[in-house]
């Protein structure tokens, strides 16, 4: 009988000297996997223009009907994205989202990306609706905020041929 007790305590004592798995969240955080699907971000090109062209294919692909997109036309005085069209309203209801990533797959310009933020907690339902303001990433260094004023005729393609520098 004693041998069993000693064997059991041995296991306990062994674990006492092991590296603990528990981390002190929120002071400490574990890195997530590279392809983790967290909160969405709307990306920008290096020059600051938004990648999103407001095509609403993400909304069409969304199995939870969490996305609402309303599009408007770009002009050279008020340019948000390189093509003809941009999203003037972009909303994701995080309470509905199931983080499946279909929106990412549907996006023709790779504008929407599920990034690594998983801390989504709300005090009311209204604040669970993320708008363009929250979703859009900050303007990269060297870029200009949108809307931009551009030289007439500089963006006359419907789908932007723009590529970021690799």
């Amino acid at each position: 009988m004693f041998t069993e007790i000693i064997k059991g305590l041995g296991t306990t004592i062994k674990h006492m000297f092991e590296e603990p798995i528990t981390i002190q969240y929120p002071e400490e955080r574990k890195p997530v996997a590279k392809r983790f699907k967290g909160r969405h971000e709307l990306k920008r090109y290096d020059n600051g223009l938004e990648k999103c062209i407001g095509c609403a294919l993400c909304a069409a692909a969304c199995p939870a009907d969490a996305i609402f997109v309303q599009a408007s036309e770009n002009t050279d005085e008020q340019r948000f994205s390189p093509g003809e069209r941009h999203a003037s309203v972009y909303e994701i209801n995080m309470l509905r989202c199931i983080f499946c990533g279909y929106c990412e797959d549907a996006c023709p310009t790779q504008a929407i990306v599920l990034e690594h933020d998983y801390e989504l907690a709300f005090f009311d339902r209204q604040s669970a609706i993320y708008t363009k303001k929250e979703l859009l990433v900050p303007v990269p260094d060297g870029g200009k905020p949108t809307p931009q004023q551009v030289a007439p005729g500089s963006f006359n393609w419907s789908i932007p041929p723009m590529q970021d520098a690799e």
């Binding site: 069409a60 093509g83 309203v89 006359n156 419907s158």
Partner: protein
């Protein structure tokens, strides 16, 4: 039938009338041959070549001239070595077609691959994406990949305004010419064309202002790619995101069937009408609507709408509850006794008009339809166009008379259908042309297609129609054209008369209606389909007002209301229309917007627009049609009929307000003998229509909606029911001496509702006074000068436009442009406004 032909398509026999196109024949047995340039309403051209099929004819023995039979007794078929276009090939006896062979499939793939070489493939941002024939057919029949390099695509302008309303994307255009042919053949506004050649071919407009047509929006529907988009809907929403509600356009008496596409607006949070689309009704609007119906809907969702009841307290209109407002109305109504007057706008729905009449007449008051300036509704009830008529059936044995109106400005779709009957430029098997007689004091667009155009002097309308009747009876009249026109009527099987009221006051209008009724009765053109009278009303539901038992105001509102202590105006703005109302009365206004009348009112009630509620309208052809709610009600607004019913309860006429419009309608159909037997279910019935525009394919009829919400019911006239209407003698009067002012109807007027569609502002009618050169010289005014026109004590500022089309001694003024408002032909004074002296 003798002229039916049986052909075999992929081994299946189909029997169709001679002259049918192979594509249509295939469609009848559910075989969708792909098309881009072919449209079932237009003559084929064979431009896109995607409808290529294999065609074979029976082999004929050269000696015996008999078909060569195979061993099993079936005819030997000789297949053509090359493919033929199914849209240009008409059926022939013994013909066999293969639509699914490898040869055909390869050809389709190659055509699609070829069409896509210059197409930008910007489907994600294209408004047509999701309902695009090119997209659908590429997925169905396309090759899947291309041998052409995407980076070598031709890039063309993407944002070419063809006018204020329509944008062209040159890259997307596949040069099918549907838009060009629609404008030339169907709309009779040939303002589009091809420019350049080869890959540089592009659509251009050569009118000033660009794409100047009342039917321009239809080209965006029939465009098989996203090359033509409307300024209104551009990037508005994706096709699959919107909700559809069936509706009826109430802008004119045609009563076009429409679909309202709605969606939540992300910025305001309200539901918005994103676009208005035609809904197929082959007896009313076919697949078309005019631009007023398409772009003039913005009033319904305008932020300026009234949303709460208001009561006047200490001289100020202040917000109130419905309970307060209705109690006050009931109290004042009871206090007024029978000294009550109701003024009902002619755009109200039938249910509203019926309940309003019940309320006012129940209290012993009087009620009239406003503006009520045109007579003839009683004649339409008796000898109106017979039930079962269809304007597109009018052919060589038919005569159409258009009298005292400009059909294109008053009822564009009627004009389009009349033009179609007269010119037969569209796709119809019956190519015999109807004759058109146009009677007007001035040239109108209809004259361009008229066989007999007769100009009279204002005032001689009735006399002219009487002379036409005498000519039709075989008498000869002074005017040779009239004699010939009369002969045409005498020989015609069908006669349709479009009656207007240009230059007529109520009494003259009644005389003209009588003369037109006489013409129909005396020549025996009543009570049978495709015969009868159509009144071209100036408002959408005037016929409904007549049918609901409301009499037109027929004069000034001041005369009508007299010394009434209580006045209720619904959907009417008499003060804005330069009428007067007595000061010392209790005035209730139920309206959509603040108007000149509502500013004077003691109680203002917000009502719901057609998009927020249910109801029925009666078209000028007496078709009772239902419209359905599409968007949530604005604020606290209520439908008109419910407001009237609530007051009925409060004054003790009824115990309980009806629970829905269908209850009101069923009560109405019991009391109004013309509507006996009608109910909401009957109005919502549909039947199969040809062309079948929906189904598996969306490309055939362009972006159009099949009718699943009801075709409506055409009410029978008393002549249809077997009664013999008698003609009555009518007195006519002679032309007016001196300078005469006449208001002419303009489609884009400056009415309260249309002004909310800002998109149309550049096209709205301007205050322009049209004068003949000699008249202008006599008055000492020149083209472009500002003048003051004085008519019946009113003064208005206009700009002179000298045109040869204006009759002499007449000043033509557009109606409802915020200047003068009067009825009939009135003596006028035109005075040049002295140029301001100064810097």
């Amino acid at each position: 039938m003798a002229n039916e032909i049986t052909i075999k398509i992929d081994g299946n026999a189909v029997t169709v009338p001679a002259g049918t196109i192979v594509v249509d024949a295939a469609k009848r047995i559910g075989n969708d041959v792909p098309v881009f340039c072919y449209h079932p309403k237009m003559e084929p051209v064979g431009m896109c070549r995607v409808c290529l099929v294999e065609m074979g004819m029976p082999r004929v023995d050269r000696e015996t001239r008999q078909p060569v039979l195979k061993a099993d007794g079936t005819p030997e078929i000789d297949w053509m070595p090359k493919l033929v276009t199914g849209c240009t090939e008409r059926v022939r006896p013994g013909m066999e077609i293969r639509t699914n062979s490898e040869k055909v499939k390869t050809a389709r793939q190659e055509i699609l691959e070829f069409l896509l070489t210059s197409h930008p493939l910007d489907c994600p941002i294209c408004d047509k994406g999701g309902e695009c024939p090119l997209q659908n057919l590429t997925i169905q029949h396309g090759p899947g990949n291309s041998r052409f390099l995407v980076n070598e695509k031709f890039h063309l302008d993407k944002h070419v305004p063809l006018g204020d309303l329509i944008y062209l994307d040159r890259e997307r255009c596949i040069q099918c010419a549907r838009c060009i042919r629609f404008q030339e053949d169907l709309a009779d506004d040939p303002v589009l064309g091809f420019d350049e050649r080869g890959r540089a071919t592009q659509i251009v407009t050569f009118s000033e202002p660009g794409f100047d047509s009342y039917f321009s929006g239809n080209t965006t529907d029939i465009c098989p790619v996203g090359a033509l988009t409307t300024a209104d809907f551009r990037f508005g929403a994706r096709a699959w995101e919107m909700q559809n509600s069936a509706s009826i356009c109430n802008a004119c008496p045609v009563g076009c069937n429409t679909h309202l596409n709605t969606r939540r607006d992300g910025l305001s949070g309200n539901f918005a009408i994103k676009r208005v689309m035609p809904r197929q009704n082959e007896q009313v609007n076919e697949l078309w609507i005019c631009d007023k119906g398409r772009f003039g809907h913005h009033f319904a969702t305008s932020p300026d709408r009234l949303s709460v009841p208001q009561i006047r307290k200490k001289g100020q209109l202040v917000q109130a509850t419905w309970d307060e407002a209705l109690s006050l109305i009931a109290e004042k109504m009871q206090a007024a006794g029978s000294s009550i007057a109701g003024i009902a706008g002619e755009r109200l729905a039938n249910e509203d008009l019926f309940t309003f009449r019940k309320l006012i007449e129940g209290q012993g008051g009087k009620i009239a339809a406003f503006p009520g300036e045109m007579a003839g509704g009683d004649w339409v009830q008796q000898v109106g166009i017979a039930a079962g008529s269809n304007l597109s059936e009018l052919g060589g044995d038919s005569v159409i008379v258009v009298v005292a109106n400009d059909l294109e400005e008053s009822a564009p779709i009627w004009w389009m259908r009349v033009h179609q009957a007269v010119e037969k430029k569209g796709a119809t098997l019956d190519k015999s042309k109807a004759s058109l007689i146009v009677l007007n004091a001035r040239p109108t667009k209809a004259e361009g297609s008229a066989n007999y155009a007769i100009h009279y002097a204002y005032g001689e309308e009735t006399a002219t129609v009487q002379a036409l009747l005498r000519a039709a009876q075989g008498n000869s009249v002074e005017n040779e054209t009239l004699t010939a026109a009369g002969k045409a009527i005498a020989n015609a099987k069908n006669l349709v008369v479009f009656l207007g009221n240009e230059g007529l006051d109520y009494a003259d209008s009644a005389a003209l209606a009588q003369a037109c009724a006489n013409l129909l009765i005396e020549t025996g053109h009543v009570g049978k389909p495709n015969n009868g009278l159509i009144a071209v009303w100036n408002k959408g539901n005037t016929q409904g007002a007549w049918d609901m038992g409301l009499r037109p105001l027929a004069g000034t509102t001041a005369n009508f209301v007299g010394k009434s202590k209580f006045i209720w105006t619904a959907a009417a703005d008499p003060i804005g229309d330069k009428q007067t109302l007595p000061e010392d009365t209790f005035l209730v206004v139920s309206e959509l917007f603040e108007t000149a009348t509502s500013r004077r009112a003691d109680v203002v009630l917000p009502v719901q627009s057609f998009a927020e509620r249910e109801g029925t309208y009666t078209s000028g052809e007496r078709r009772v049609q239902r419209f359905y709610p599409a968007v949530p009600a604005r604020g606290e607004s209520r439908p008109d009929w419910l407001i009237f019913s609530h007051v009925q309860v409060r004054v003790g006429q009824i115990d309980k307000a009806p629970v829905s419009t269908s209850v009101v309608f069923s009560q109405m159909s019991k009391e109004i003998s013309l509507y006996n037997g009608l109910n909401y279910r009957a109005l919502a019935q549909t039947q199969e229509q040809f062309p079948q525009i929906m189904g598996e394919d969306k490309y055939y009829g362009g972006t159009a909606f099949e009718n699943s919400a009801g075709l409506g019911v055409q009410v029978r006239t008393s002549a249809d029911l077997g009664q013999k209407p008698a003609s009555r003698s009518v007195s006519s009067r002679s032309a007016i001496d001196g300078l005469t002012a006449v208001l002419t109807q303009k489609l884009y007027d400056r009415g309260t509702l249309l002004m909310r569609s800002y998109l149309l502002h550049p096209r709205l009618a301007l205050p322009v006074a049209h004068l003949h050169a000699e008249t202008a010289a006599m008055l000492g005014v020149a083209d472009g000068e500002d003048v003051q026109v004085q008519v019946a004590g009113q003064k208005g500022k206009y700009t002179v436009c000298v045109s040869e089309d204006t009759p002499q001694n007449v000043v033509l003024l557009p109606n409802s442009v915020g200047a003068l408002n009067f009825v009939g032909a009135q003596p006028a004074e035109v005075v040049k406004i002295a140029e301001t002296v100064g810097a």
